[in-house]
């Protein structure tokens, strides 16, 4: 059996490794529009922040040879022909398959694509983006950068550049950073603390209206509030779109059920897959590494003949980059809110029928795994939750086992 993967990202690499570890000895061909060994998108900002490039290759630089894979790199797959079992690339190369693993990921979305023609304007999604930014900083000694977009990727970018020593202005159209993974209070808290701790210059409810260029090079940006900022480096992180076009013709992602199949021979996983949420059941793009990895493992084990299925994705995420100040969230911010706030710590849980419907933890990682477990299992929490959120010693669980009241101040 010949297996072809579209993509060499986290899902595809995990898929291939699981197959080989499970004893699959058949032919494997991997396609990527990039020229690299599989790398981790979560790690690449650290390369930009000054750490060695080799660390981004999370499964080793020798991945293809070690696993006996034919790598077709810098070959962008533009068409999948399920009838003839073929994939075709932009350059006209075709490859046949017996089984196709489609994990083409997502691409940066730019408000104005012509900005990219200007030297100094970058996306923040691929290792190529990181190398281009790194090159520019090295060659020009860039001291000041503007990041447009304050979601997860934009904030990640701003913190990485800040860690590298640049002065960074982070421009975000919403009223708080990380607006998808926080509610208003939690987001405001996180934004304020991140600004204090990182020294980022954060401009909210503002957008980059236009860029200023000279001889094809970036000279500055103009914001919607009229401010002009001189800079030769602009990172645009205003969103991503799934690379579903070769399979569906559109860019809305590809919906799959528990078998992850869209036809008996084509499996879809990773950031391009639209999957069911494991807790609330809603279909959506749940583009995080743990979801992609789990989908890949399930797909591989199914191919190896095991009877497993994908139990659904979870929209949990954590931003903890270069600062000991994590922002964690999961679920939906609807229901009865229970909040604990003290100093650098903000914790909020949303309850629905006495079960956790969503939560946010800002400033401290402790408790997050326990809440995650309660959220996933949908156990009832009762009034325990108040003592739990107020626990700053890490002994809440043990006190409750002993039948003792929580140590700290409880919240009403």
């Amino acid at each position: 059996m010949k297996i072809v993967t579209v993509g060499t990202g986290m899902a595809a690499a995990e898929f291939v490794e699981t197959l080989r570890q499970g004893g699959f000895t058949g032919e494997i061909v991997m396609f990527s529009d990039e020229p690299y060994a599989p790398y981790s998108p979560c790690v690449i900002p650290f390369f930009l922040a000054g750490e060695p490039l080799r660390h981004v290759f999370w499964k080793g630089e020798d991945f293809y040879t070690r696993h006996g894979v034919t790598a077709r790199l810098s070959e962008k797959v533009v068409e999948v022909d399920p009838a003839r079992r073929l994939v075709r690339t932009e350059r006209g190369v075709t490859e046949s398959y017996d089984r196709l693993f489609y994990a083409a990921g997502a691409s940066s979305w730019f408000p104005q694509t012509d900005w990219l023609d200007t030297y100094g304007v970058h996306g923040f999604k691929t290792l190529g983006d990181m190398e281009a930014i790194d090159d520019q900083i090295r060659q020009e000694g860039v001291a000041r950068a503007v990041v447009f977009g304050g979601g997860f990727i934009g904030t990640d970018a701003a913190l990485a550049l800040r860690h590298r020593g640049l002065q960074v202005t982070l421009v975000h159209r919403n009223n708080r950073l990380l607006s998808q993974m926080t509610d208003l209070d939690g987001g405001n808290f996180a934004t304020r603390k991140l600004a204090e701790k990182s020294g980022l210059d954060i401009r909210l409810q503002t957008r980059v209206a236009d860029i200023l260029r000279e001889d094809g090079r970036l000279k500055g940006v103009e914001l919607t509030d009229g401010t002009r900022i001189e800079t030769s480096l602009l990172v645009v992180a205003t969103g991503v779109t799934p690379n579903s076009a070769p399979l569906t013709g559109g860019n809305g992602g590809i919906a799959v059920a528990e078998d992850l199949l869209i036809d008996p021979l084509i499996c879809v996983a990773g950031d391009v897959a639209v999957t069911r949420h494991a807790v609330d059941g809603r279909q959506g793009l749940h583009a995080t590494a743990p979801n992609a990895l789990q989908q890949a493992r399930v797909a591989a084990r199914r191919l190896l003949g095991e009877e497993v299925s994908f139990n659904g994705s979870i929209n949990t995420n954590v931003l903890r980059k270069h600062l000991d100040f994590p922002v964690i969230s999961a679920g939906r911010f609807e229901g009865e809110a229970v909040t604990f706030e003290r100093g650098d710590l903000f914790r909020r849980v949303y309850l629905l029928e006495d079960r956790i419907n969503g939560y946010m933890l800002v400033g401290d990682i402790r408790l997050s795994g326990y809440l995650y477990d309660l959220y996933l299992s949908q156990k009832t929490v009762g009034k325990d939750i108040r003592g739990m959120l107020a626990d700053t010693r890490g002994d809440w669980y043990y006190r409750s086992v002993m039948g003792l009241a929580p140590a700290g101040a409880t919240i009403s």
Binding site: P326, I365, G369
Partner: protein
């Protein structure tokens, strides 16, 4: 695979396990090296809750949520010992692992093994290198009261089940009288302390 099991009723909160762990994971390998050293790594923590003490650490779950979540290739399972082992070279301290660990067994700080002078995750490694030489984890060796034991799960479970059944049916065995006495004294001491505090 052998694991570390905790009988918290036997823990006297002496913290020998913490000290032994710190020494075992210190490049100096001696108690004196720990003095004033901020990079000291302690992978087990004795959590004092009133009169009880709970030595808490990584349970090397299988399957392990942290292992499934790591996006950096920094966590792996040691084939020989079953330990979930962290490679600080590859760890970016992104906290994806800690986010899903139900036992808060993963922490972050600059330890001696952290490259680049910044924080990495650190956790119990089951002293897996020493296990290959036939040793047992440093914390278990150090435990004087029998609160920490290193053994296979199933025989331990079976033995405990028989012991509990004996206590339940025959009233035999159970806590040795001296032990029960010691625990009762400690409980009372803490109750007095609580009263004088309030």
């Amino acid at each position: 695979m052998k694991k570390i099991f905790v009988d918290y009723r036997k823990c006297v909160a002496c913290k020998s396990c913490e000290t032994a762990c710190a020494v075992a994971h210190h490049p100096g390998g001696s108690l004196y090296g720990l003095v004033g050293d901020r990079k000291t790594q302690v992978n087990v923590r004795v959590l004092g809750v009133e009169h009880e003490a709970f030595p808490v650490s990584c349970r090397h779950c299988d399957p392990a949520a942290c292992l499934a979540a790591c996006p950096a290739g920094a966590l792996r399972r040691d084939g020989h010992t079953g330990a979930v082992v962290l490679n600080p070279e590859y760890c970016k301290a992104c906290a994806m692992c800690a986010m899903v660990c139900p036992f808060d067994a993963i922490s972050f700080k600059v330890v001696h093994r952290s490259p680049f002078g910044r924080e990495t995750a650190f956790k119990c490694d089951l002293c897996h290198e020493d296990l290959k030489e036939g040793k047992v984890p440093a914390c278990v060796t150090a435990c004087h009261s029998g609160a920490l034991i290193f053994c296979e799960a199933e025989p331990l479970r079976a033995r405990r089940a028989v012991e509990h059944l004996k206590v339940y049916l025959l009233g035999e065995g159970g806590e040795p009288p001296l032990f029960a006495h010691y625990r009762e004294l400690r409980r009372k001491a803490f109750a007095r302390r609580r009263e004088s505090d309030s």
